[in-house]
Amino acid sequence: MPIGELAVLASTLVFSITGIVQKRLVARFRPLTLGALGAGGGALAALVFVLTTSDISAIPRIPTTHVVLGILGGIINIGLGEPLYLLFLRNVDVSKAWPIMAGLLSIFSLLSGILILRETPTAFDIGGVVVVVTGVYLLSFGQRKHTDKNQASWLGFKGVFLSIGGIRVLGVWAYGAGLCVTGDGPTDFECAEAISGMYLPDHHVLAGGERDTHTEGGRRRFGVWEQGQEGVVAEPGGEDSCEVT
């Protein structure tokens, strides 16, 4: 199996293990405290990554708008969204909390693409959303009868839409929408990443390489284009063009 796929699978495994550990820890810490400690650890790891792998001289060139929107998105998502998710996790099994969050985020990512990037939803997209919503329903409202009273009270609208969906999505939108709508996003790829919930600042500066978008059948696709790799490059200045700063 190629190294890229292996890396993704390893990342999902690490995410899952840390999710399980988080469930254990949330019983010992207040959600806000645990969120702050986790964010501190994440920031340290990101700092090590930046200092060891990136061209540090490029960092001052990151536009102020990106920094401000990144901080705003981080405050809302990590500062508000994460503690609220942890509050939800404290009262609900991780086998329910995590899938519900993942399912809702995928729906909101699609909505962001439609509303911000002006993507046209296909019949498959709508069908996919219906299937995901069914899954969320089965895991939340459908499980209320089979759980204890406390957990059942959290597996309703309160837990699903307020604790997980709303606040986190606001954070994602504050960053992603800000970059994309103001036209300050260096590439549409980065807008998609931001909307999908990845907050690493200025990937293209840190990781190097060029990213381009192309259109297939009226629908925007995102991908990584490198030398020697097949890909369709958008026309410079065209609707789907991207600027690499």
């Binding site: 690490v14 010992r28 991780v94 329910k96 899938p99 899954g135 990584v224």
Partner: protein, 96 residues
């Protein structure tokens, strides 16, 4: 009596705080927000966003499996169907 209970709860919080657990929480955050995100980024760079996103959504299965095995959480048929539906839906959105 109520005052004594309140004091006991506060003492429990204080005694519950440990540097070792705080270290675990920080390391866990570093693993989740640092290592896992970096690996995912490498995956996007090497394999492309579409494949990475679909493979990334298998996280639902990993987490559920681990929670059942490690935390002894219970999962009934409706829950299994729900998780499978969610994974299928995400795959449909991402691939088709």
């Amino acid at each position: 009596m109520a005052h004594r209970d309140s004091l006991r709860r506060r003492m429990h919080y204080r005694s519950g705080w440990s540097f070792r657990l705080s270290g675990v929480a920080i390391a866990n955050g570093a693993g989740m927000l640092g290592v896992a995100s970096m690996l995912f980024l490498v995956g996007i760079e090497r394999a492309g966003l579409s494949i990475s996103a679909v493979l990334g959504s298998t996280q639902i299965f990993w987490t559920t499996m681990l929670s059942v095995l490690v935390l002894r959480e219970r999962m009934n048929l409706a829950g299994i169907v729900g998780i499978t539906a969610m994974f299928s839906g995400i795959t449909i959105i991402l691939l088709l």
